[in-house]
Amino acid sequence: MKPLRRFGRETNPIVFVILTVVTGMSLIPFLWVISSAFKDNTEIFGSMALLPETWQWHNFQAAWLGGQFGRYFVNTLIVAVTTTLISVAVAAPAGYAFAKTQLRHASALFYLYLFGITLPIESIIVPLFYQIKDLGLVDNLWGLILALVGTGVPFGVYLMRSFFRDLPDALAEAARIDGASEWGIFFRIMMPLAMPGLLALGVFSFLSAWNEFFFSILLLISDDTRTIPIGLVRFQQQNMSDYGALFAAITLAIIPSILIYVVLQRQFISGLAAGATKG
């Protein structure tokens, strides 16, 4: 993404105030959850103070142990990493094929992929479930991983095609004249050049898989396969009365997402923007 451009050196103070208030309001739910995570039930029911009177660290202990969050964390990490690696490995060559090989004119085939972006996956969840069941992958992390890769293919290919299309043809031509094979051109020249695109797709796949909820509800049944989103919902159902522990559990679920985003936001944002604006 291009560096953020400035219109003027001075910010209009009114704009600044409005923006601060709006952004602040949007962040209130975070502050409320985190502050409540340190309170006991009496205080949660009785006070609106931002800071707890006594810091109830044991809420986190209750959440961590009661909810098996360690397990959920590991499962989520496995799903996110595997999904990311396979997605990039599958989408990058296909994107390249549509951008730089004879297939660049195969518009009918490409439209088949575009169709997959528009098709709401929610509308075919019923047969998709039976498809995964036939593969014997219900209540198995692989079922979720493969479903995520498969349903993510259209967008991934579309995004990679956009990135490969922006690369100059001259380099590939020069390599071809020097006697490089088509595979050599793809792996040695084009892939390294497309690294920003690969990263963008990778970060996007990682966060989508990390947050996945829709398939998980259906596919992750036992405690051993639960990921953080499913585990949190489950924890809420089981701990209707211990609010402090619930807020601690929500905080535990929030932290990794925020950390991942803050560290990788450049790639993530550029992936989002490219996916939406590149033709």
């Binding site: 509308s123 039976y130 349903t151 947050n211």
Partner: protein
């Protein structure tokens, strides 16, 4: 290469030879494309075909046989008030999504683009809600709306407005809107980022010219930024439509479509009909109806926007 092949296999039929020729010409792209096509076929295209098959049967998910019933499932749901109401709720949901999500995103993007120092920080912070899982959003807002400990009701009580307190998620009259607000909170960051990218690609000379002409901030936004975002707007409205029609996660985490059917969107209807009532054929028909609506509307909308033309 292909000439050699002809000489080496003089007995080969015309068809094999043509296949061989095709393979020689397209070997590289075919191998590059194959993995994606296999994944796409197994997890999207085949289920789509199967959805169509299932939608013509009365299967309950358990019975060993599936009886062909023709279009009965389609006529059934399109005359069933529960399904039609879920469509109507989806239209309301879409409106909320456009106003709160896309509208909120545009508002913030314009403000952020007007900021000199600190723009990056604002973008980062304003995007926070969008990085959460819909499950986490649902659980957080479920607590914000909690009748006794929730932030909404406690704030209203402390302000002396206890008549305005509600059972936000338990009252059928407002449950859908309560969930819609939570969903808008999660969504606006996405549209904000897309609008920001669109604003950055506007030619800076337009703003320079406006400055020379003495345009104020309001005129700058209204006469340059908004019209220049025509294409971005098309993309955002299309994405917002698709995303709203897919609405499921926040609803599921907060109300599961309840109370009763009060917050049941089409995707929730499909889910409940299939996995709770076991009416697989009916659910498949409803799912395909949803898919058709989304694809046809997205296509028509984009054609119309292309015709209306672009300023950029």
């Amino acid at each position: 290469m292909s000439l050699d092949a002809q000489f080496q296999t003089p007995v080969a039929s015309n068809r094999t030879r043509r296949l061989r020729k095709l393979w020689d010409a397209y070997r590289v792209p075919i191998v590059l494309l194959a993995p994606s096509l296999i994944f796409y076929a197994v997890f999207v295209l085949m289920p789509l075909g199967r959805a169509f098959q299932l939608s013509l049967t009365d299967w309950d998910g358990l019975a060993p046989t599936k009886n062909y019933v023709g279009v009965e499932n389609y006529t059934g749901i399109w005359t069933e008030s529960r399904f039609l109401m879920s469509l109507w709720r989806n239209a309301l949901w879409w409106a909320m999504h456009v106003v709160l999500g896309a509208g909120g995103g545009l508002f913030l993007a314009i403000l952020i683009s007007e900021v000199g120092r600190g723009r990056f920080l604002f973008r980062t912070l304003a995007f926070f809600p969008h990085v959460l899982s819909l499950a986490v959003v649902g659980v957080i807002w479920g607590q914000l709306y909690h009748p006794s400990i929730g932030l909404f009701n406690t704030t209203l009580e402390n302000l002396g407005l206890s008549t305005l307190t509600r059972v936000w998620l338990g009252d059928p009259a407002i449950a859908l809107y309560s969930v819609g607000v939570a969903s808008g909170w999660q969504a606006y960051g996405f549209y904000m980022v897309i609008f920001l990218a669109g604003i950055q690609s506007i030619d800076p000379q337009l703003y320079e010219a406006a400055r020379v002409d003495g345009a104020n901030a309001w005129q700058r936004i209204w006469d340059i930024t908004i019209p220049s975002l025509h294409n971005t707007m098309t993309v955002v409205l299309t994405l917002a439509f698709i995303s709203a029609m897919k609405g499921f996660g926040t609803v599921w985490a907060m109300t599961q479509g309840g109370p009763g059917y009060a917050s049941e969107l089409v995707a929730v209807y499909v889910w409940r009909t299939a996995f709770q009532s076991g009416a697989i054929g009916q659910a498949a028909a409803a799912g395909l109806s949803l898919a058709l609506i989304v694809i046809v509307f997205s296509y028509l909308f984009n054609r119309w926007r292309d015709k209306v033309g672009s300023y950029t």
